[in-house]
Homo-oligomer: 454 residues x 2
């Protein structure tokens, strides 16, 4: 099959940039159209959050692009969660086994690297081109720039990697029998900053993700290379307390001082940041089909935007790219076969991580602050180390493996049922690492015939 | 409060026309904008199905408009379902108690009546005005006519009664934190015709809704005043058999002859109709909120499009109008209060009927053909007659009462649990009207403390 097709990629975000590199490697002539200005030249917002947690699935995509090592140099390993209780007490939970960790990377920095690499591969990135309409039948995209100037482009294949508010998807939504949903959490988010110490030292443990779990809401912090931490407050839009209820500087200062006392001491610009930084919304998008007549395809957030609580948005999008890369080879550029198998493989996975991500918000904002939860995770980790083929903790399946997300979700539910029985054993707090408990857990695992092979 | 507000109503369909009459009665100056031409002057399609099942909730709306009696004259009572088995065997199930029935009415005829009545009330209906954009902040609607001519209008209040594919709703969907879903069934539909006999006689029982339940699909027929029946085939889009799999005239003729032998004998134009009539899709739409800054409100299908299997689409929309009518009086034209209470009352009801409608498809296409189902309905009817305050069959709650749809749904689930136990009693087929069974059912009802008051 011929691979000298013209390709349009909508969006030069993380997924669009990586995708354009991969398509170029397969011989396609790729033009990217981006609604923003070039973030390498202008001081503009990179979109959503400032830093991201890059993990196993994400590395797979970067490896194909050939910049895994380069990004590793600027990534900060986070080996576990540090929980900050309201009384200042600190607890710690490793993310995985020895040597397993996630990585704090700058969204903007990574995006710039990928764009530059794309251009080095011959990709043409056109900035300030907002897609306002897609003629699906004729594969033409109509653009408008900031001044209102209109232009258009056509190609053999169009990829909608234009994010959670995808213009390509909006066009698909208007076609017959298109299934679509967008749903928002009642929580929003706001980014805040913990400043670096003298000489770019870190004022909190550097190699961890910090969480201040407060039941109905939480503050988190990820380290940056300059010694600062980017904090995100996940907080209800309305109610008490909420973004709506904190209306002046004194209220914000008082609220943080009472709820996050150890953090607020490190946030001298808190109050100004709170009122000058925007409040973001948290959307989940599901849709089907992702393709139109084997000529257009959604990928990344455009196909499956999720909430950020499992740190998998980018990782899932990069896994999309890696899967597509393999399918292009497998089906030798036959896009009818590639698109059909891509959606068949990725749609259930995307639905799975969407559910896991919402579920993990409750874990992060509430459960991680509770002793029973930490005990449960300790039991799981110990059992998993002893019987790695019988038990891989859910967090590890999602973060440190290639197990399809929906299989991880199903396996997680099976584990929940078993752990409920284990946690109900008498004196579990003291006996948790006894042979009795381990044998009981082993028996429960074996009793279940549909154990997945890990 | 002042009620001399200018109002725009988008869509002159059933709900838009009724709504415009009601708003005029409350003193508002109403302009309706309709994308189609005037169906009273042009031979155009009235939209979806040709006839509709009008029932209790629908009459409530028409009563407010003052045309209940007039419509009653042209409505055909349908007292029950006639089921046609594949071997030609006929069975019958009454819809309710003596004197309870639904009504076959012409969608086009009813719509024309409502439009004419609206104009008599001083409503201005502007045809051939397709809403292409709504400026939500400034309450301006932009229109385009068939020739591409552009115009605009503004008002104090805008109502989006523009149906399942509402332009007003599409605009709302693009605002922040808008929850929206559209989902399609795997079945589509096609309208077909059973011709009238000589002198407009009916070739099937006139006062019934006819169903040919075939498990995975079904044919239904509703009577028209001229002696004909409008049939609708609800059938999978894809698979075997499906709209896709029947590709030529012989296949259609053979399929109908083997599956609907008694119907096909009455359908001389079957094959031509099958290929010339369009195949429709079956959409469910859910969204929230229905309002924007107390200036714009969705109503009817625009707010909550449902599948047609409970015959409640129009009835639910007319109930919307009746509820709004009461709230305008209750809150004395204070639209912040009216809109808030309208959505609070109607959103759960709309979600309820959406679920009931999907659920009833399985009942119609499959269960009504089964003896156990008919027995169950017979037991319910007998018990309900004896203890009307303890039991009102689900169909009756939905069709012959004002019980909010979501309460009917909840009560239906409670009844299901009880009937499962009753149907499992030994020899229920013969003992179904014994005192033992009645006492058992009574005990089960009483045992349940959360019985709703009927």
């Amino acid at each position: 099959m011929s691979n000298n097709k013209q390709v349009i990629v909508l969006g030069s975000g993380l997924v669009g940039s990586l995708l354009s590199i991969i398509l170029t490697k397969h011989g396609y002539k790729v033009s990217v159209y981006e609604r923003r200005l070039d973030m390498r030249k202008e001081a503009i917002s990179a979109g959503r959050s400032i830093n991201l947690a890059l993990s196993h699935r994400g590395w797979g995509g970067l490896r194909i692009a050939g910049i895994e090592d380069e990004i590793k140099k600027v990534a900060i390993p986070m080996h576990g969660r540090v929980m900050h209780a309201i009384d200042g007490k600190i607890s710690y939970q490793p993310y995985g086994k020895e040597g397993e960790y996630i990585n704090s990377v700058s969204r903007g920095g990574l995006n710039c690297e990928l764009m530059t690499l794309a251009e080095q591969h011959g990709v043409e990135i056109n900035f300030n081109k907002r897609a306002v309409h897609v003629d699906l039948k004729n594969n033409i995209v109509f653009f408008e720039d900031e001044s209102g100037y209109k232009s258009q482009a056509s190609a053999d294949l169009i990829f909608g990697s234009d994010g959670a508010y995808s213009a390509a998807r909006l066009q698909l939504q208007l076609t017959d029998r298109y299934n679509y949903s967008q749903s928002y959490l009642e929580h929003g988010y706001k980014e805040l900053t913990i400043n670096a110490g003298a000489n770019q030292t870190f004022k909190l443990e550097k190699n961890a993700l910090h969480i201040w779990p407060r039941g109905g809401y939480m503050l988190i912090a990820l380290p940056n290379l300059d010694g600062s931490f980017t904090c995100t407050l996940f907080f209800p839009h309305q109610g008490k307390p909420s973004f709506e209820s904190l209306t002046n500087k004194a209220e914000v200062q008082n609220f943080f001082t009472s709820m996050f006392p150890d953090a607020v001491a490190l946030m001298p610009n808190l109050v100004n940041d709170f009122f000058s930084n925007p409040t973001g919304s948290l959307i989940t998008v599901k849709c089907a089909p992702w393709t139109f007549e084997n000529k257009l395809m959604l990928i990344g957030d455009a196909a499956h935007a999720i909430v950020p609580f499992f740190g998998q948005g980018m990782n899932c999008g990069f896994e999309d790219c890696a899967v597509l890369h393999n399918l292009i080879t497998k089906h030798n550029h036959q896009w009818n076969l590639i698109m059909a198998e891509f959606e068949k493989l990725r749609k259930p996975a995307a639905d799975g991580i969407a559910e896991l991500a919402v579920q993990n918000f409750i874990e992060m904002r509430d459960l991680v602050g509770k002793p029973e939860f930490l005990l449960r995770k300790k039991i799981e980790a110990a059992f998993s180390q002893k019987f790695p083929r019988l038990w891989k903790p859910l967090y590890s399946m999602v973060t440190f493996s290639d197990i399809p997300y929906h299989q991880a979700l199903a396996e997680g539910k099976r584990q929940d049922a078993i752990m409920e029985k284990i946690m109900a054993l008498p004196l579990i707090e003291t006996n948790w690492d006894s042979d009795d408990v381990i044998n009981k857990m082993h028996a429960l695992c074996i009793a279940n015939n549909d154990t997945i092979v890990l």
